[in-house]
């Protein structure tokens, strides 16, 4: 059988840049976590918490995750369609534009040019560049799919296609604004409407950027790593369609008890609970794919990444609906619980799936075995422990904080001032920083391992342990 000339070069470049922006995101995250405990670490206007936090979130979501998905989509699309990328030139253009956009974003955010919309802070000129970037990517992937030599489209391709469409719709609508200058614009929507559009975007960015793509990766790379197919094609089908249909209804669960119309809140709450079903369909599909293969958790380091990732996806999609219920949201919203929840998703589910897939790619893009499997195992344990310390300390912090905010004396006055609740957070913030540092250490080891692989360093003596 003839082998098509796949373009792994572009995959490799996106892997590199994704890792670079990933470590920036984690580093900035660690810095701002310390700023909360020690406000004297806010250095002037450019390096203050309010400006650095969007750099952290955008570097993580758009630099690390989206950059990683660019790499992985290009890899999967070529393999699953059995044709090379439609246009190498377009992919190359996209790589350049991607990095230019990330650098411009970081610089302008530090300078204070912001639309203030969460996960959509960049001002309108960068919005336009991002749209061009996404359109280029969409065209390239879709053209590759249209020209495929494999009639049947595998599950991963469905998730990829829905993501391409979904992100485009969400990003463009939420970004609609009226420019005043090159660096300043006002939203096309006002007040309560703007909030509703923003969280329709915000929550579905979680769906279209941070759920469908990692699921595409999971459905492809888990079977590739274990060597056995996914348990059920049909279950994957059910999961896909119900997920794509239900997610869009749930944005307003970020706005429970706010002035958003009540019926929008109720629909959001109901659909959030319903979402447990399609989410867990994927989790169960993953677990059952391991039937008779559980020994690989011990022998194959790749499987550890994927199975822990899907486990955190499962936990995330139980915790999320819980928070989306009015009564619990009234208690827990706005507290430290929320970053605890978000970081189980980002550091647990998404980053583990990307790390696992990058390890799988390493021998294929460098043409040699991974430098060190023991270091990959160490990386696994460090990011796992770091994430757990982060999330668990923030959940406890959130419950403490919420209790203090809502607590009343017998005479109907508040038991605690706001400041007392702030001060009660310090030990938890400290623990969170420790978790972040451990996670960062894991990422540094990962980078060392990848760099040594790329440079063709001699594999260390314990190569025999490789699965």
């Amino acid at each position: 059988m003839d082998k098509p000339e796949y373009n792994y070069e572009i995959v490799k470049h996106f892997v590199h840049w994704s890792i670079l922006w990933g470590v920036v995101a984690v580093l900035v995250g660690v810095v701002i976590s310390f700023q909360l405990v020690m406000p004297q670490l806010n250095f002037g206007e450019y390096l203050s918490y309010g400006r650095l936090r969007p750099v952290h979130t955008n570097a993580g979501i758009f630099g690390f995750a989206v950059g990683g998905f660019f790499a992985l989509f290009y890899y999967m699309a070529q393999r699953l369609c059995r044709v090379p990328i439609w246009s190498n030139g377009l992919a190359r253009f996209q790589l350049w534009l991607f990095n230019i956009v990330i650098v411009l974003s970081a610089v302008t955010l530090l300078l204070g040019f912001s639309q203030s919309k969460e996960y959509h802070e960049m001002e309108w000129p960068i919005d336009i560049l991002i749209t061009v970037l996404w359109v280029a990517f969409t065209i390239n992937i879709l053209m590759t799919i249209f020209r495929r030599r494999e009639a049947q489209m595998y599950i991963s391709l469905w998730f990829m296609m829905a993501s391409l469409i979904g992100v485009a719709v969400l990003f463009v609508v939420n970004g609609l604004s009226v420019p005043v200058t090159l660096f300043k614009s006002y939203s096309a929507f006002a007040g309560t409407n703007d909030a509703n559009v923003q969280w329709w975007y915000g929550h579905n960015a979680v769906a279209m950027v941070l759920t469908l793509p990692p699921l595409a990766v999971f459905y492809y790379f888990l079977p590739k790593s274990t060597g056995v197919p996914i348990y059920s094609h049909r279950l994957g089908m059910v999961a896909f369609w119900s997920l794509v249909f239900m997610y869009l209804w749930t944005g307003a669960h970020h706005l429970l008890w706010t002035p958003i119309p009540d019926w929008v809140q109720t629909l959001a709450m109901a659909f959030s609970v319903l979402l447990i079903a399609p989410s867990w369909a994927s989790v169960i599909n993953g677990y059952l794919s391991m039937n008779g293969q559980w020994h690989q958790m011990r022998e194959n380091y790749l499987v550890k990444f994927f199975i822990l990732a899907i486990t955190f996806y499962g936990l995330q999609t139980l915790q999320g609906p819980l928070q989306a219920i009015r009564s619990f949201s009234g208690f827990i919203h706005y507290t430290e619980w929320v970053p605890g929840h978000v970081h189980m998703g980002t550091m647990g589910w998404i980053s583990l799936v990307i790390f696992g897939a990058f390890y799988y790619l390493a021998p294929r893009i460098y043409g040699r075995e991974l430098y060190s499997v023991p270091l990959a195992n160490l990386h696994f344990w460090l990011v796992l422990v770091g994430q757990l310390i982060f999330s668990v300390s923030m959940w406890i912090a959130g419950v403490v904080q919420a209790s203090m905010w809502h607590s009343l004396n017998d005479d109907g006055s508040l038991t605690y001032t706001f400041m007392e609740a702030v001060q009660a957070m310090h030990p938890y913030w400290g623990m969170r920083s420790v978790g972040g540092v451990i996670y960062l250490l894991g990422v540094v080891i990962f980078i060392y391992n990848i760099v040594m692989t790329a440079r063709g360093a001699q594999t260390p003596r314990n190569a025999a342990m490789r699965a």
């Binding site: 706010t258 959001a268 006055s413 706001f418």
Partner: protein, 288 residues
């Protein structure tokens, strides 16, 4: 069938995405910012307030402060009347936020005197001991651009006068920020309507209790000293060392505040803690 037809798959996926989008994102436009939720007393931002709002956005204040009070008991007691949809009709973008590392600011307008905000922005810990908010003293060094602000007012369609634009000359980002903070949540007369008034006979439950005086001192240092100075010596608010009022007058002032003078009410502390502060005040009074 759709598994082999990529165009069909794309169309079906788009349709699936659009259903929830149309119902929960597009349809609410028929209800929000219409006659149904309009509030007559809500007015657009002045030029200076708008400039301040843009400073708030530029500095990313929304990363730590929310701007919606939810209709929950403790929240209404802590911050004030819950937020109404019509209050936000001039907010582009909204600044509701998602975290409260610092307190909600939807009702902060009119809570403190201007001077408090200036001091607090320059050195937050001076007004709020124990805070982890970073200082924003650099806002004093940045000037508001009158012409840019005029353009912003025009883009947003807010009414303004030439005098208003001229008055921006020489104003700093700090002035703008304070003006914005003082406007927040004050378009509806909730403060007047929801004033907490102590009723009935007021009796000091801790009369002559030295422990209450000690606790009162601690509470004074945390809640009052920033404006009234350590040891009642006065700061930008009045010297309290020689007032010699009857104790129930102290209680009422602390409990209800003195709006025209910018003295906030401290009803949220609860009567026990207020009485402890009263006992401390009494114990430190000197003859004039």
């Amino acid at each position: 069938m759709w598994e082999k037809n990529s165009v069909l798959l794309l169309l079906l996926a788009t349709a699936a995405i659009m259903v929830g989008t149309v119902i929960t994102m597009v349809l609410p436009f028929a209800y929000v910012n219409t006659d149904r939720d309009a509030i007559e007393s809500v007015v657009p931002y002045s030029a200076l307030e708008l400039a301040g709002r843009d400073v708030y956005i530029k500095e990313g204040c929304n990363n730590c402060h929310s701007q919606t009070v939810r209709p929950l008991v403790a929240e209404v007691i802590r911050y004030g009347d819950y937020s109404k949809s019509g209050e936000f009709v001039y907010d582009r973008p909204h600044l509701w936020g998602s975290r409260r590392t610092g307190p909600d600011l939807a009702r902060v307008g009119g809570k403190y005197p201007d001077q408090w905000h200036y001091e607090h922005m320059r050195d937050p810990a001076s007004m709020a001991p124990g805070t982890n908010m970073p200082p924003y003293d650099f806002l004093d060094n940045r000037e508001v651009d009158p012409e840019l602000t005029r353009r912003k007012m025009e883009v947003l369609g807010f009414p303004y006068t030439e005098e208003e634009i001229r008055d921006l000359e020489g104003k700093t980002d700090m002035d703008a920020m304070v003006a914005y903070l003082q406007k927040l949540g004050s378009d509806i007369p909730w403060r007047e309507q929801e004033r907490v008034v102590a009723v009935g006979e007021l009796t000091n439950p801790f009369a002559g209790d030295p422990a209450a005086i000690a606790e009162g001192l601690e509470l004074y240092d945390r809640n009052c000293a920033a404006c009234h100075g350590a040891g009642l010596s006065g700061g930008f608010a009045a010297d309290l060392s020689a007032l010699n009022y009857p104790e129930e007058v102290y209680f009422r002032i602390i409990h209800e505040g003195i709006q025209p003078l910018g003295m906030p009410d401290f009803a949220t502390l609860g009567s026990e803690r207020i009485w402890k502060i009263v006992n401390y005040l009494e114990s430190e009074q000197v003859e004039p």
